[in-house]
Subunit: 491 residues, 4 copies
């Protein structure tokens, strides 16, 4: 067990197990690199503001360069103490003891969380865009692939596979926009907030913020160390992505059942059974569906932990971090797996076509036709068709055949006038391909509407890509600046 | 029990209780006005696109004008059927039966939810701004009110009451920005999506969207009827506001305890006991703290319900609505109550001052001073002060007194050199007012830093107010246009 | 607004809106009857212990008899004040003012919650038993109805419909046992705990507890007013029932899709579409599935609200009650709807039989046969069958046909010896009825195993019924005793 | 990457990353020992039922003995495959290939989860009992330690520290009883359920169940592999324990604040600050408070994952396991830490006494006295005391002094008769020690009532201890039997 640089003179020894349980070393691994970067920037800021000597900054920076491979001792409280310990051991107390001057673990950890999170957000954004692109590939291939659209899991109306897949693209584009909003709120810098009340030393928070790639410093130090809404917003955004992916997974599971048989998931994303050799199980889709549950739980953990917590730093906040990292990793993995799986899907167009053939799916078209052509107000037309459907079900006849036989007497009974449809009208109404292409309004399922939607989606994705690029460049630029100062200091 | 306009010819009678349980009439009351407006706009759109006659549009509009007071029958499935029923009963089947031409309950309810939600969002935004303004009033009054800042509920460093209250202002400003982002994603129009696949009729979705005050139509009809991420985003934003309010409530409860005695909550927001006549209980603060728990639960309900739901409409979605409305109302009430309570608080400055007087709170200042003036590297200075604190606690002496006696031998032991502090140095270090004003960096707790923060907060609030105003105006403009068409149609 | 009997002399007037928001009158309606009963029992206990006069007890009891129809004023804090108000107004301050002697709202509400909850628990228990009985009716009818069992929603092995439905019966029996355990922990009496520290008066808590039908008084007064674990345990038990019902609902939704077509849900529990007249939607099943989400959320609300709440009464506890009542009602409704729906189901045995015919489902049987008869160790047999399955899939041949052709060469390749199966062996292996009845071990899917399981289930249900009966009788007996004292007092 | 014993002949290669993500090897480590035990028992059962040879059973058992140290390869799906692989590699395909005869991963994992969980439940039970015993130690020491009881965090009435701590003891005893109930439902055996439909082989499920220490086999195989309510019940019970611990932690945090100063937490369970050397932070209490949030989240994860999942095994179930183990470990750690912390607490009796001295706390006693001695009906007495309190607060006088001056005129005004109290009456009413001991009814705060409560608590704990012991013995007995068979087989 390491000698603790903090408690030595103030508190008696801690119980070993209490120390290990409350230590955050393990989940701090996620922010090791960020904590090193923050220390570099902080020390450079102190030097540039004449708060420490050139000698000190040089020695500390050299030590920090080696810190990535330092030994992480779980009997230490956290990464922050671990790093300070390492630096002081490397270069001695005289040169190293100012590394924590004018800062605290409270502002440092809040800053590191934001820096690590912004990288995850960018990666999740990029992977979301990639998933959309993968979906668009399949959209373009399937403009003429027809299948039933479902409501309440009952066949409702004929749609194109493209329109169905496009529905996920547009949901995911909103998800990506949410991540951008979240990024902008997360990318503000708490450094300089100190324990909660800034510091008595004349530090330069704006300079520090810009060295670390933030848009600006946070405006209040107590808010800076207390608030975790930036990460809860992220957890909520990830939960929404995961619910979208869980729905897509659910459909892949349904569709790859023998009963639907609409799709075959590649062997790569399937397993078999330890006992039933014929089985091919859609385990990756199930994995993603389940992870949605875990992601929601991580969000709840964070909300429940911050609820009714007084300002400012309380150790409870530390417990949230592992939930954040788990959610980030699970979401990233799920999106990337989904992308690969989507690209490998084999759609069984024949099964889809078989499913769409039931003329029942065009009951709405029949009602619309009666309204448009025969001026039967819609609800009456709807009732008339409802009656025809019922007769057809009861007599187990195809709706088309039943229609021919029964429309005259039923319309007579319900509307007081006899309606008859010509053969070519009926053919037109019950032509599935035409039916899909009749749904041609903005956002519709026709191939024309889908083609328009594809270009809109592409434009949105391009804009998003540009935003991601800019954010990545802005971080790189800051880190380049930091590097320049580092070189100047080390000489 | 009403005769059902839908099922009559298609299905046999429903069980009464099944009908009542699955009916959404009760929670649909929230969207009654929106559903009427949508029907007006839809019918005008149909007319302008020559899909129904002038006579029909006129009759339907006249009926819709009376619909607000129609009888809501809980044996009907929902508000949509109820309204169609009412119109047809009012003006007869011949004139009224086209009211549902080219639309469905699925797109209509999604549209109405968005319209009602956007009003709630604007009201919650306005009340959030008002709460910030109320806090700023107290901030300005308390620039020189000093109290201990706490971490881990232990007195940490002296701060100003202003800086503490400002921390909530800046958290709430972020909350408001989140609501704006959410508003923009919510304000897109699903109308025209039909059941899931738009319609075979040549409708004009852009015109309809603009009549209803939306920014634009949604780009895919299946997404339009399936997606509820807009409202889950809202629930998540409300949960974040409520966690901030729950922390503020927690502090008001703590601070109004006899032990802290920092604040007196007005009698208006308190109750007494049925058995202990001396009691004065902070029940409004407790109410808000508890509502944070309910709000989180409403969010979870929504996430759990949409998880793994296949596209497109499933009745499960209906269950979410009551959670949404409860969360909106609870949040609005909580913010408004908090605003009133904040304005009525009496701060006990004497108790705060008493609490801050412990020289222990300036241990950091002592360490900083040793570093700055005596060039003792910070961690060494921190250890030295730690040792002085321990001695002072063990001897039950005031830190100042203990310091004078012990700094020389302890510094000799720990640093190998004897440090002595002059009386006036010590006075300066342990002057609380100066200590607060020494924390003068951007975002700090000094009165100067707080004054700067106030003007930044004000600028943010003004910007937000302008955005809210614009959004309200844009809705009004659309509704004015709708009204003009209505007048034109009715003549 | 009523004059408040409590605050009058102690606090200035409350703000009307604060009062309305913090008032629990609305959700207290659930416990109106229980609060009246508690007051009766309490007043009788005071009288029997000579703490109030015969005259007082008589007057108060007469007033309490009318209290059920009293006017509930939402500007009053809660039902407790409302009732005390009503009694004092009815019989005057001199006779009525002792009604709250030696008790508090804190113990009274905790007692009333337990009394109301135990009724809900008994009703939910009875309805769970009824649902099990309904399922058993269908189990008995379908011992020979065969269908595929699924894992990962892939057809796995043939099972009987009986065994499938029995799986729910046994899950629900565990749920019922949980409710019994919960009941026993809930049925302990807090009355006499007072605000938190009992009372200075010599009351008789055991007598009071027995008058109210409780098993015994709680052993510590602070625990008595602080703890809500009894109701959170109930919420958790309800959530488990609802997850079981949600799975059954999910299967009914799947099975009533055109693709599965295993079941037809009665029109009574279905709706049609406002636009697609052919639709028949399983809305009651969807309703139940969604309610599972709400029930989980109510549980979370309660857990989140009590988390980190200090002892003893805090107003936060009041917020939990509405979650409890909603969950109780939703669960009771869901179970009863499910029972009715189950009894009305039409199973499509033909579709099930069609689905089971794929010889793939008997791949395990083939492997088992190879192990048993040909002494091929199981994993080798499994691999051999896996290879046969693959060839059969690739050649799109029926597994039986493919087997005959390929088992010899493939076994030669994989095992180094040639296996051949006789025609009658193959017939036996691929006979579905026999395959189900081969699975004849305890808990198996054969009709024999199912018949045994039915009698075990029945015995469990009978035992549960007996327990419910005893609990109901015990309450009735106590209430009878209370009634006797009432008659004695009123004379 | 290992060659997969399952998919080889059936499916093409899996994608490496898909394999790693869906692999449960890591969280399966928790059940390694249990899986080995199950395999031993299963293989012995097969042998005793003449399904495999003596030679096979011997070879497999010898291999299984070494399996604890086998290499766990994360490219394998799970522990089950890993173990089978290991056995076959150790002893060859001819001897090892029957290890999975007549069982499946589905029943095996459900069995192993229950076996591992029951150990955790026993350990958590024992630690809960230990925590109760630790609390009882402090209870016995503090029968005469007085402090204010709080409601709404306002001082309410004087209580003894013993009664306060006892309130947790009785809450925890209920928690322990819940765990016992849960244990009994969890300790039923799924083995033999196979994939979902048992097996075609004549296995002996009762024998297997008894070898593994279960009370009996589950009655339905589909229920056996599908149901996870046993573990969700456990998660819910753990959540309740954690909410109780979170409240106790909250109070320790409050009480160790300078403002309360009721308790000093030992240095062993505290930390200091990286910047403020005077700080002593109650981090272990904060750790436990936060873990309550995580535990609730694990419960939600499980509920959300099983919601609407069709029967029988779906991979989603695997995701739940890590939540279960995390919750078990966190709860166990929290209870044990709490026990140690409780034993180390130093109570500041002087601060408590100071806090109790406010005569306001005895306002109820004054009202009770007026009712008992002067026959002023309670609500009138309560109002009279309320008025006295208000005057005392407004005049900033001690309630005793104010009382003497004002009771006569105020009683005249409110009651129409003048009340005067003698000096010795007042002394008696406002004697704090007497006031606590006046609260002497069953469950009260007097030392007499607390002493009675202690013996009741002890009896409950002894009963629980006995139950735990019996359960441990029953498992040991089974494992002894298993061992005997093992020895017989290996010879």
């Amino acid at each position: 067990m390491k000698t603790d640089i903090l408690r030595g003179e103030r508190l008696k020894e801690a119980e070993k197990r209490a120390l290990e349980l409350t230590s955050s070393i393990e989940s701090d691994l996620e922010i090791l690199e960020e904590v090193i970067t923050i220390n570099k920037a902080h020390i450079i800021m102190l030097w540039k503001n004449n708060l420490i000597s050139k000698e000190e900054v040089k020695a500390i920076l050299i030590a920090l360069r080696k810190a990535k491979d330092m030994n992480l001792d779980k009997s230490l409280e956290d990464i922050h103490i671990c790093l300070e310990n390492f630096v002081i051991e490397s270069i001695g107390k005289d040169l190293g003891s100012n590394i924590n001057l004018a800062k605290s673990r409270n502002d440092q950890v809040a800053t590191a969380l934001r820096m690590r999170l912004r990288l995850y957000l960018l990666d999740i954004l990029s992977s979301t865009i990639n998933l959309c692109s993968a979906l668009l590939v399949r959209v373009k291939e399937n403009l003429d692939t027809l299948l039933p659209g479902y409501t309440h899991l009952q066949r409702a109306q004929p749609i194109s596979l493209s329109s169905h897949l496009l529905s996920y693209v547009f949901s995911l584009i909103r998800d990506a926009k949410r991540l951008i909003s979240c990024y902008e709120r997360a990318n503000e810098c708490p450094m300089g907030s100190g324990a909660l009340a800034t510091t008595t030393l004349p530090i330069d928070r704006k300079f520090l913020s810009s060295l670390l790639g933030f848009d600006k410093p946070l405006e209040n130090s107590i808010d800076g160390v207390s608030s975790r809404d930036f990460l809860i917003e992220a957890l909520s955004d990830l939960s929404l992505i995961m619910t979208h992916l869980s729905s897509l997974s659910e459909e892949l599971i349904l569709w790859s059942s023998k009963e639907f048989n609409f799709v075959e998931i590649d062997d790569k994303y399937s397993s078999t059974s330890s006992i039933m050799p014929q089985k091919k199980n859609p385990i990756v889709a199930e994995f993603i569906r389940a992870k949605a549950g875990s992601c929601i739980a991580h969000l709840i953990a964070a909300l429940t932990i911050v609820k009714a917590l007084p300002r400012s730093y309380n150790l409870d906040l530390q417990e949230i971090n592992q939930h954040l990292w788990s959610a980030c990793k699970d979401t990233l993995n799920s999106i990337e797996m989904m992308e690969a799986m989507i690209l490998s899907l084999k759609f069984n167009k024949d099964s889809m076509l078989e499913a769409i053939k039931d003329p029942m799916l065009l009951a709405t078209d029949l009602a619309d036709h009666l309204t448009l052509t025969y001026k039967i107000p819609f609800r009456r037309a709807h009732n008339l068709v409802g009656a025809l459907v019922r007769v057809s079900l009861e007599s187990k006849e195809d709706l088309r055949d039943s229609l021919k036989k029964n429309i005259a007497p039923i319309s007579q009974r319900l509307l007081g006038k006899e309606i008859k449809l010509r053969e070519e009208e009926i053919d037109k109404i019950f032509n599935f391909k035409e039916a899909v292409n009749r749904r041609n309004t903005l956002g519709g399922v026709s191939s024309k509407a889908c083609i328009e939607a594809i270009s809109k989606a592409k434009r949105s994705l391009e804009k998003l890509n540009l935003l991601i690029l800019k954010k990545r460049e802005s971080i790189e630029k800051s880190f380049k600046l930091l590097k320049d100062y580092e070189v100047e200091a080390i000489g």
